[in-house]
């Protein structure tokens, strides 16, 4: 029973860690990048002013990729800690 509890503890610690990492990335591409949009607009990226590009497309691509990566990372944590669902 105690082994199970510590296993749950490890699982939750790693889950929390993953959550924090993903929220940091999320915060950067939701807020930080757009805060500097006027400065980024002076840079040209594949023909776009970068500040405009990030809001119209760049941040969105990051979010999509991030969610697929998150799903597989969390599934890996669940498996390694023996907390995954039985198929």
């Amino acid at each position: 029973m105690s082994a199970d509890i510590s296993q749950k503890e490890v699982h939750w610690q790693r889950t929390k860690g993953l959550m924090i990492w993903h929220l940091i990335i999320w915060f950067i591409f939701s807020f930080v990048v757009h805060w500097f949009a006027p400065q980024l607009n002076k840079i040209s990226f594949i023909g776009f002013p970068l500040g405009f590009y990030m809001a119209a497309q760049g941040s969105l691509i990051v979010f999509v990729v991030q969610l697929f990566v998150f799903a597989s990372q969390q599934a890996k944590i669940d498996r390694e800690c023996g907390m995954a669902e039985e198929e």
Binding site: T15, W26, F48, P49, F52, A56, L60, L67, A71
Partner: protein, 609 residues
């Protein structure tokens, strides 16, 4: 499904069924194109498009009818992640996304892109903080989670109230949008059209609840994404921006900077006020470097994201997946399907603006003689229905940027005509707009009716009610809420977008922190959650009233679109303070939170409850 002679279960055959459906839809589009060639009028084609798609949705709704509780509330928890992703995307993308977003970017430029960022990034919060845990919980509705996690009828009731306030605000906008399209296509008064719209919406949801709504939403996603992308690809091809303008319109954004100087955008101010329409005064890619502009962008992004993660009609879609890990995958698929439309909208806005502004293109109108512009077909047609207006304020006979007034919605609706595409494409766009508005209306009506039937009626009023009775009550409520929504929509109180943004603010004010902390903070207790919901919703509503009608100057640019910042802030502070002042939840509740945090094992609530 025996007509298709398929082996295996319905779920196994889903890819085949929807591939057939998509093929059928394409054949229908080709038939309509042939009809147009043979002399069919644009009106007839539009009516056929609308009628054909509604009949399909109704047939799916009929085939999915059910008298089982878990099928009615959570589609039997057997929706595969990819299909749930499509259903969520249709549930999510409303009339506002489909019709208003590109136009908003056209008129508003960079500041408006906060909606694009907010309405996509919110899914990161859904996936990381909410969806998998709510799926593990095994609830039927969002108040079901609040009521069980925090215990007691008062907490459950507060959650129902927040849900109803947020979703009802939203659903009137969707019935309004559905009614607007129906009125336009059938040429009937709007007040009649909203009721016809309601019948169409209820046909999808009445008999099969969540199961029927799921399978119609998948069908609606396919229609709406085809309808959004085909005109853009076609127009882009025709005008030399390549097949995928989404990746190649950078040059167009750059070109607009020169044109904005040439056409004196922002220098010439409109000299008239035209209700519901505006003239272009904002530079396309310009981002303000002052504090208020930056705060306004960030706060709008935050409101739309936290609202996304609190809106019950979205969260409840993830209750329908077969497992917790499928719920996570499904959020990723949802966002991919939503992304397809959202990264196209800015491209569409940019290309359309170029068409109108660039004197070297044959389609341009700014700088041309007013007589020649007034002679254009699309200018006349959309001018007649009150979507655009030309006023020669300096009497020079030429059209300046400050003399051309329009409603943003025209960017999506009129693009096929501006670019000279055939009428069949206009019919397709109408069917797409209808699919977007109907699918969201269905999700919202079901969220409200389910909360009232499951949480209010079954859990609080009559816990002994038998299955049959519960499902009849659920349907009667669906009918009642739908009728109430149509009655309010018929009054035309707000524009589509205003009401949509408010729904997000209401939802985040009352539900965001009670939901997140319910999973991530074991110490969170009942009085804290109740305080969070009541004070959050109260503070948000008060602030909305004060800045919108009470004459108060918004703090730091936090206007009526962003009142959720105040509401959610008050909710967090009061929830934490009250929780810490009262005693921690009992051992049983804490064990329940532990159980929610791991995917393994049975759901916290029994599979039918």
């Amino acid at each position: 499904m025996s007509i298709f002679n398929m082996k295996g279960s319905f779920v196994d055959n889903l890819p085949k069924i929807y591939a057939l459906y998509t093929g059928g839809f394409v054949v229908f589009i080709i038939l309509m194109a042939l009809l147009e060639k043979a002399g069919g009028s644009a009106d007839t084609i539009a009516k056929l498009f609308v009628a054909f798609t509604i009949v399909i949705y109704a047939v799916i709704g009929w085939l999915s009818r059910t008298m089982q509780v878990d099928a009615y509330y959570v589609a039997g928890r057997q929706v595969p992640p990819v299909f749930n992703g499509m259903a969520t995307a249709a549930d999510w993308m409303s009339g506002a996304s489909f019709v208003a977003m590109a136009g908003g970017i056209y008129m508003g430029g960079h500041p408006y892109l906060a909606f694009v960022v907010g309405w996509t990034g919110g899914y990161v919060l859904v996936a990381v903080l909410m969806a998998p845990y709510l799926r593990k919980f095994g609830c039927y509705t969002v108040p079901d989670f609040i009521g069980t996690r925090y215990g007691g009828n008062l907490a459950r009731f507060c959650a129902v109230v927040v849900l109803v306030v947020a979703s009802f605000t939203y659903v009137t906008a969707q019935i309004n949008a559905t009614g607007t399209i129906a009125a336009f296509v059938l040429q009937i008064p709007f007040q009649v059209a909203v009721w016809i719209a309601l019948v169409a919406i209820l046909l999808c949801a009445m008999l099969g609840g969540m199961r029927a709504v799921t399978w119609t939403q998948v069908a609606q996603y396919i229609v709406l994404i085809v309808a959004y992308l085909v005109p853009v690809f076609w127009m882009s091809q025709k005008q030399g921006f390549g097949v995928f303008p989404q990746f190649e319109y950078g040059a167009a954004v750059d070109r607009l900077k020169e044109l904005e100087v040439l056409q004196q955008v922002g220098v010439l101010k409109p000299e008239h006020a035209v209700p519901g329409m505006s003239a272009l005064t904002v530079h396309h890619s310009f981002a303000g470097n002052d504090l208020i502009s930056k705060v306004k962008f960030g706060t709008l992004v935050a409101c739309m994201m936290m609202g996304t993660a609190s809106l019950p009609h979205i969260l409840m879609r993830y209750f329908t997946t077969p497992s917790v890990s499928d719920a996570r995958k499904s959020v990723a698929w949802s966002l991919l399907f939503i992304f397809m439309l959202y990264f196209t909208a800015p491209a569409l806005a940019t290309l359309t603006k170029l068409q109108v502004l660039d004197p070297s293109l044959p389609t341009s109108i700014i700088g041309k003689s007013i007589a020649s512009v007034n002679a254009l077909d699309w200018v006349q047609k959309w001018g007649n229905v009150g979507f655009l207006k030309i006023i020669d304020s300096n009497h020079d006979g030429l059209l300046q940027i400050n003399e051309f007034f329009m409603r943003g919605d025209i960017v999506v609706l009129a693009t096929p005509e501006i670019a000279g595409l055939p009428a069949v494409i206009s019919g397709l766009v109408l069917a797409g707009g209808l699919a977007a508005a109907m699918s969201t209306a269905d999700g919202l009506l079901l969220a409200i009716a389910n909360a009232l039937s499951h949480d209010l009626y079954y859990k609080m009023i009559d816990p002994k009610a038998e299955t049959r009775r519960r499902l009849i009550v659920a349907r009667v409520l669906l009918l009642g809420i739908g009728a109430a929504g149509s009655a309010v929509a018929a009054l035309r109180l707000t524009g589509i977008l205003g009401a949509v943004a408010w729904a997000f603010d209401f939802a985040m004010s009352g539900l965001f922190f009670p939901l997140v902390l319910g999973v991530w903070w074991k110490r969170a207790n009942t009085p804290g959650a109740i305080a969070g919901m009541v004070i959050g919703l109260g503070a948000g509503t008060w602030y909305l009233y004060m800045v919108r009608w009470g004459g108060m100057t918004p703090w730091l640019g936090i206007d009526h679109l962003r009142f959720g910042i105040i509401g959610a802030g008050a909710s967090l502070i009061s929830m934490v303070a009250v929780t810490l002042m009262t005693k921690e939840p009992d051992a049983e509740t804490q064990a329940m939170v532990d159980e929610v945090r791991i995917p393994k094992g049975a759901t916290v609530l029994a599979s039918t409850h």
